[in-house]
Point group: C2
Chain length 311, copies 2
């Protein structure tokens, strides 16, 4: 059963495949239960400020209608969201009381997400850009097989897959144009503590670019012929909830690339700044609530502020 | 007894007070014994590329003549270096095998440095800029009392003093224009994990600027009226020895300010980039050995590379 909310005729320019979840999160700012979450959601909401996104995921029929309405209102194509009757949505419970940079997971109830086997609607398969959010690398490959070979492919991953399915992660890296990892994952995957060495080692798998996210310390991108950019984070004094910051970063980064229909080094450089700014908005409230009121003008102002004053 | 090497007539533009040491260091690149080290040395050598530095410190008569010759050849004024007959030089032994960002101290033999009571030569007391490297805050205050009240004052500190002499550290902060701390010290001093909040809290002590060094993640500077700049580190893949990186950063930062005879926000912004570049050169070899062959042209090239490509 697919979601019965209205979608526009235009096909998505970016397809994202990942988790759709209900998150219960505790941070120094408080506890919030059953909030809209998941890697595909955080990515899609952020990218929706720049491009038309098609979301591929699965939820149970307990998934609140108001969340579907919010995503549709952000012009996100939900034809790829499977709503399974009688099933329960993936739930994650975690806290950041020890360290705002590292979540402590208290409970992961995969529910319907445990049997996720992404099927892309026909209208998605010619999308020019694909973002593989954090799902098992075998599923990421299953998605790659359904997409047009001409699409520009970007993937995320996580420590679990690096430990348990390393060969599959390597295979995904060989098939994508950009690999995005956080600093801990890059060190784990390469065995190199120095992040410059780690970034270059990942390039050797044949990706065009490798992005290393460093949370409060910003992000770096490595490319062929020694291309390298490092940027600090936009300063946020009151971090309310860091959940989804990395996916919001990816949403700004990939969304901007999609809007430009380019991935040359100049565009990549600008895309990194857009990712950093979108990540900084995400952490200012729980869930992706900051994006409910965010305007394009606010994004432009923060970009100008970042470019002129911070860096 | 003061050092009998020739000094030029011109008085120093920057006075640094801190440790002069013989370091034995183990890193993944190997072990080196009894190398030239100490906070005042690393600062002075780096700053000497931009300005004339007067060094205030103490060593024993076991301090190798070749080190004095090297410092003098860098045009560093050594009239403030006290050489105590029959005494031994401060020695530090440490390693970075666990983490290149954090030294494990194996032995600290203060020797003659235990009784250090800095006395500034008359020719130093009118210097327009003073850098108080990492020494006990009571000694930092003793130095402040000897300097012209018109001098521009910058201080470093360390976790030991924050824990043991917190009130003195606060008093020093009230008397300087710029406080430089690393991220761990800033968190410890303010009790705030968020570095943006920590930086702003230190501003409240009345400093004009607060610099937070983050090692491989670069540096941030906070000023009045919301002034804020964050910059990533210059990428160094082969870190040979991080000892002295923070003091070399300070040397580039303060040396550049001294050369400009200014500390407005535009100058501060450029000074931060000079500090980052000088820190990146320091870690490329043991001790301050990279600076033995470094040329002004190499500094300019790396600055251009950093400004045009990295950030």
């Amino acid at each position: 059963m697919n979601v019965p909310v209205p979608t526009k005729d235009d096909s998505p320019r970016v397809v994202v495949v990942g988790s759709v979840a209900l998150d219960t999160v505790t941070t120094p700012a408080g506890t919030r239960a059953e909030m809209l979450g998941g890697s595909a959601v955080h990515f899609a909401v952020s990218a929706s400020f720049f491009t038309r996104v098609g979301l591929v995921g699965v939820v149970g029929d307990d998934f609140p209608r108001e969340h579907l309405a919010f995503l549709a209102a952000r012009n996100i194509d939900l034809r790829g969201l499977d709503i399974v009757r009688g099933a329960k949505t993936f739930r994650w419970t975690g806290s950041y009381l020890r360290d705002l940079n590292a979540a402590d997971t208290h409970c992961t109830a995969l529910n319907v997400f445990a049997d996720f086997s992404p099927q892309l609607p026909a209208a998605y398969r010619q999308a020019p850009v694909l973002f593989l959010a954090n799902i098992a690398p075998a599923l990421q490959m299953h998605v790659l097989e359904q997409m047009s070979p001409s699409c520009y492919r970007i993937c995320d991953t996580m420590n679990l897959w690096i430990t348990q399915n390393r060969t599959d992660v390597e295979e995904v890296f060989r098939r994508v144009h950009i690999a995005i990892l956080n600093d801990g994952e890059a060190r784990m995957f390469t065995g190199k503590h120095n992040l410059i060495a780690a970034g270059r080692a990942i390039l050797a798998y044949g990706v065009e670019y490798c992005v290393i996210k460093k949370g409060e310390h910003g992000a770096m991108i490595f490319g062929q012929d020694g291309f390298f950019v490092a940027l600090p984070a936009y300063p946020v004094e009151d971090v309310v909830d860091p959940t989804g910051a990395g996916d919001s970063f990816a949403g700004g980064f990939v969304g901007y690339l999609s809007a430009c229909a380019a991935h040359d080094q100049m565009t990549i450089r600008a895309a990194l700044r857009h990712g950093i700014v979108m990540g900084s908005f995400n952490v200012a409230d729980f869930s992706c609530d900051r994006f409910r009121t965010l305007t394009v003008r606010e994004i432009e102002q923060r970009l100008a502020d970042y470019n002129a004053k911070i860096v």
